[in-house]
Each structure stands twice: as C-alpha cells, then as structure tokens.
C-alpha cells in the first residue's frame, strides 16, 4: 500500500461545527410550535435558548444527535422529521440559499446542494451519480449521527423533494429508498413522498429520471444567480470546511477502491493509531467495519446499476474469494441477495 501521507483536518463528534441558528433553530422553532417544552428539548445537549438566538454559536455533532433524540422522543405525532425537512430548503443560509432558490432546473438545484452542502445540509453528505436513464442522490453520514440518522435522512429527502417540487411547480416523480425499516407511521411517509417508496433498502438514496434534469423551471434571474454563485464560492473558500471523521474514512476507502484499504493504512493516512481511530469512530456512534461495509455496498451497487457489471465481476473486484461469499456478504448488508435486490431495485412501485 502506497500513500502514507497525512490528510488535512477533520472534525469529530465533539467539535463544534454546526451553526445553531440555521437548520437547528428551525427544528427547535418547530418543536416549540408543537408544544414540546424547551427544557425537555435541550436536555443533555449543553445548549441554552440564548445560544440559538446568537449568530455565532456552534453545536457539536454529539449535541445535535442528542437534540434529535429528544425531539423524536417527545414528538407524539412522529412527523416532525418530515415537517422539518419540508422547511429545510432553500432555507435562510445566506448566498447558497439564494443560489438554490434561483436554480433554473433540477440539475442546477442538485449541483448547488452538493457543492455547498457544508452550508445547506451539514449533517449528511449528498452524493450525485448520473447515468443515461437515472440520476441518483445518495446520502452518507458526515460527522456521526448514530441513532439520529433515520430522522435526519428522512428530513433531508423530504426537503429535497419538497423544494424541488415547489420550484418545478409540480410533483416530481422522485423515488425514495430508505435504509431504516418501515416505521409505524408509514402512511405519513407515503403521503409525503408518494407511493414510490422503499424501506430497508440498504442505502439512503433518491432517484429520478435523468431526462427531467434539464427541464426548465420558470424564470430565474441570471444576474442574481451569478452574484450568488460568486458569493457562495467565496464563502466556501473562506470557511475551508473539513470532513467529519466518518465521512473522511468513507472517502479514503473509496478513493482506493481498486484494492480495499486496511484499517492500518486508513489510520496511517489520518495520522493516528488504529486503536485511536476505532475509539474516535465509536464516539461518532459508528465503527470502521460499518463504514467499510457501506463503502463496499455502495461501490457494488454503483458497478451493478450504473456501470452494468456482472455479479461475478463485482465479486472479483471487491476481493471476495468467490461469488457465493459475495452473495452472503451482500445479504448481510441489505437483507437480500444481489438478484433479489435487483428485482426490488427495479421498483415496481408504480402500480
């Protein structure tokens, strides 16, 4: 294994990186409007009501995780994730929000979201993959959301679909795949997302037909868009955001995907011992093995569906001794064998 170079910085679960007055304040406001008492909401988060009103306060991922857990526990309707999501975008996060609202088509919208995601959706990283037929947007954990992930990823998907519907002026046929199992209130999900919805899908992903990407969305001001773009780029340059540790590990793994990297190599890359890396990831409520499995699953799905590889070719590329072994691993990741998954993924959801 080659690269021994130490990668630039990253943040961990206790670093204060999330602006409290943006997405977090929206959620708190919403919870208050549902009569959730503020003291219960902020319990164990180390947050004070004044922090949210200040423009400079930042929140750590672990405090955010506890806040989400509090909201989810106190939310009798179990719909605050969907409702919060529908308010997330374009939001009021400065020039990236302006850029989002002035997107001329779906492609510009998604590009903006991915490029300026440190401001627009700092909790999870959106990733865009396109082929001739489909455009995929899948979400990975940025800083270690742990238990809060189902809540947050649902909100983000609800946000993307709600904002793109709003800007397009019609309901776009997004297809939604969620990693978590079907919740009790699944009727809320189907009203929010429509029928094309799958739970226990192994991955958090939304998909739409690529031909809709460049369908024009009504009039936008080119001038506003251009100035918002240059402002956003400046903002990004000056903020110099870094990856969260779980995301960084994921990206290191995928960047060496020709031969999957060992724990030792990854920790060398990050300038820490394997034991420290494991401990740090544990603080992020995840583990090296989880991220490793995710990376391999995402890569195999990419090779299956976007590049059209055969099962054997994918198995070989992932260093599995044989096809049977690969199928067993795949089943562990998704609960389905590759061929079962393929028929599920084809999505005969539009009855």
């Amino acid at each position: 294994m080659k690269s021994q170079e130490v990668l630039p910085g990253f943040y961990t679960a206790e670093d204060r990186v999330l602006a409290s007055h943006h997405q977090v304040a929206l959620l708190i406001e919403l919870a208050r409007s549902r009569h959730i008492p503020e003291d219960r909401l902020l319990r164990n988060t180390g947050l004070f009501p004044s922090d949210i009103r200040s423009a400079n306060h930042k929140l750590s991922v672990s405090a955010f995780r506890r806040l989400i857990t509090n909201v989810a526990d106190m939310d009798r309707s179990s719909t605050l994730n969907l409702l919060w999501g529908s308010q997330l975008f374009p939001g009021h996060y400065g020039s990236p929000s302006t850029l989002l609202v002035n997107a001329g088509n779906l492609m510009e919208f998604l590009d903006t979201l991915v490029r300026f995601r440190f401001f627009l959706c700092p909790f999870m990283a959106p990733n865009l993959v396109k082929d001739d037929q489909w455009t995929y947007l899948y979400w990975i954990d940025a800083g270690g959301l742990g238990r809060a992930k189902p809540f947050v990823v649902t909100a983000l998907m609800s946000g993307v679909s709600s904002a793109s519907n709003w800007l397009a002026g019609r309901t776009l046929p997004w297809q939604i795949f969620l990693k978590h199992p079907q919740p009790k209130n699944s009727s809320e999900y189907s009203v929010a997302f429509g029928d094309r919805l799958r739970f226990s899908a192994g991955i958090n992903l939304m998909r739409i037909e690529s031909q809709l990407l460049f369908e024009p969305w009504g009039s936008v001001s080119e001038l506003v868009r251009a100035s918002a773009l240059s402002e956003s780029v400046e903002l990004l340059d000056s903020a110099k955001p870094v990856y969260g540790l779980p995301e960084l590990v994921y990206r290191v793994l995928l960047s060496n995907s020709s031969k999957f990297t060992s724990l030792q190599t990854v920790s060398d890359c990050l300038g820490m011992s394997p034991a420290t890396l494991k401990r740090r990831l544990k603080e992020c409520e995840t583990s090296y093995q989880t991220i490793y499995d995710n990376a391999r699953l995402h890569l195999s799905l990419y090779r299956f569906y976007v590049e059209g590889w055969s099962q054997d070719a994918v198995a070989k590329s992932l260093d599995c001794c044989n096809g049977a072994n690969f199928r067993r691993m795949f089943k562990r990741w998704t609960g389905l064998t590759p061929s079962e998954y393929r028929s599920c993924f084809r999505l005969d959801l539009a009855r």
């Binding site: 409007s33 308010q87 519907n165 929010a192 539009a350």
Partner: protein, 307 residues
Amino acid sequence: MSLTGLKPHRAQLLLLAVVTNTSLVASLILGEVKTWGEIDWLDVFGEGGTAAMLLTWLIFILRSRPAGRVSTILTAGFGLVFLALWQDNLDEFIRFANSQWWDTWLESVPLPIGMALVTWGMYHWHEEQLVIQDQLRGRELSVREHKQVDSVTKLSRSDYLKSQIEAELENLDDRIVPPSLLMVDVDGFDLVNREYGTREGDRLLKVIGDLLLMNVRRHDLVCRFAGDRFAVLLPGTGEAAARLMAGEISDAISHLAYKSAVQGNTIRVSVSVGLAQAKSLDATELMERANRSLAQAKGCSHHGNAA
C-alpha cells in the same frame, strides 16, 4: 406529576387542608400520643395507604376537569371520605379518652355522606359525558383510544381508522351495504406551509378538520390520515352516495375563506377526493384503493411517469 391543573380548584383543596390540619391539632391537644410499641403498623399501612390513594384519585380527577358543579360535588365527596380515613389513621398514633366523642364521630359520620356525594357526582359526571360524547360526534366510533388522537387536529390518526375499518368489516353480512372510504387531500398544502409557516398550516388543518366534521352524518368517522390528508369512513354507504358526499365536502372546502392569523388575509384552498368501497375484508387494501383513487383525482401527478 405536576400540580398546574389544580388551580381552578384551589379553594376546595385549601378547605380540605385546613380541616385535616385542624383535626390533627385538636387530636394532639386532646389526646395522648402512643408509644412506639403500641402502634399497630399493619393498620397504619392499610388505612394510611388507602387515604393516600384516595387523595391521588382526587388530584387526578380535579386535574382532568375544569371547575364547576360536578367538580365541586366530587371534591366534597372524596374530601369527606378522606377525612374519615385520616381521622381513623390518627388514632393509631394518638389515644383518645372515651369522653372524646368527636373522634368516633369524625371516623364514622363523614364516610357514608362522602360516599353518597361521590355517587351523586359520578351520576352527574355520566350525564356530562353524554353531552361531551355528542360533541365528539364524527371524531370517534364505538371505541375510544386517546393515544391515537392527533395533537394538531384533535382527530384520530390512521391507526385508529384502520382498527375501525376492521371492526366495520367484521360485522358485515349480506344485508348490510359495505362501508366506503373517502381520502381528502388538500391541494398545494406545502405552499401554505412555505408562505405562512407551519403554525398557520397547523391552524388551517384544524379548520379543515372541523369543516369536514360539519359535513358528515352522525355515524361517520373523520380521521387525519397523515400530513395534509384526511380520511372519512362512511359505514353502510354505497358508491353513489359516497360520491355525492365527496362532492359536497369538496364544495364546502372550496367555499372556505380562511383568514391567516397574522396578516388576516384570505387563504383559499381546494381538496381532491379519492373514493373506494370495501370489497374484501382487508382494511389496508381499502385504504390503498382509496389512496390510488385520490392519486387519479390529483391528475396522476403523484404517480407521474414512474418506471
């Protein structure tokens, strides 16, 4: 347990506290405190426990009720029973001379009077409940389940709807027309939330829920299915009659001139209605068919050009 709900009943509770304290002070002055060995702890536990339990009941009842005649009767009744048990418990600790007639009197007289008052109060509570039940018409059928009530619209949620459809379908035989189900979805509700905020959106949903209740019959059930979608269960209703009601509901809502809370400007809304009549014994299948019919009514927009 928070005591905030007790505010309207302050006066009665204060009176109870004064009376029990007076009896305690009087007993201490007029009686003689027993030694540790003389106390029968089993009695203390039994009588004291009953008194404590009774006080808890009283607090729960008062916390769940506004002030008024029925509340006063119940407080008086429970208060007297409590007083009797209290006095009974006091003489486990304090010995009274036989000349202290009032101790025995306090132990036995308030008890039957209190019991009678509680019974009388319960009867009036029942009468009152019938009135309230009438106000809940359309919100519940034969079963009540407060955990399935939605906090925004105060209508029941989809899990309650499902259980009620199942109950309807179970009782079905050849002589009864199977129930129909309407799915009522607010068009462009997302826009209201975006423009006016979710507080306003919540208020609008509540108003639409109320309006639906005004447009159904006595034995129909209105639920909040999910999000901005309502469901109306119409027992024993054929498709033609259900279609007529769907039209009436959508007319009623299109005539609503809802005023926003802050600026007071008019928000007009329309609804799309989907409809299905039960064909099998499967509640989920009925809800799915109604939802599909709704999607068609929405101009297939939700189903788009799916794969």
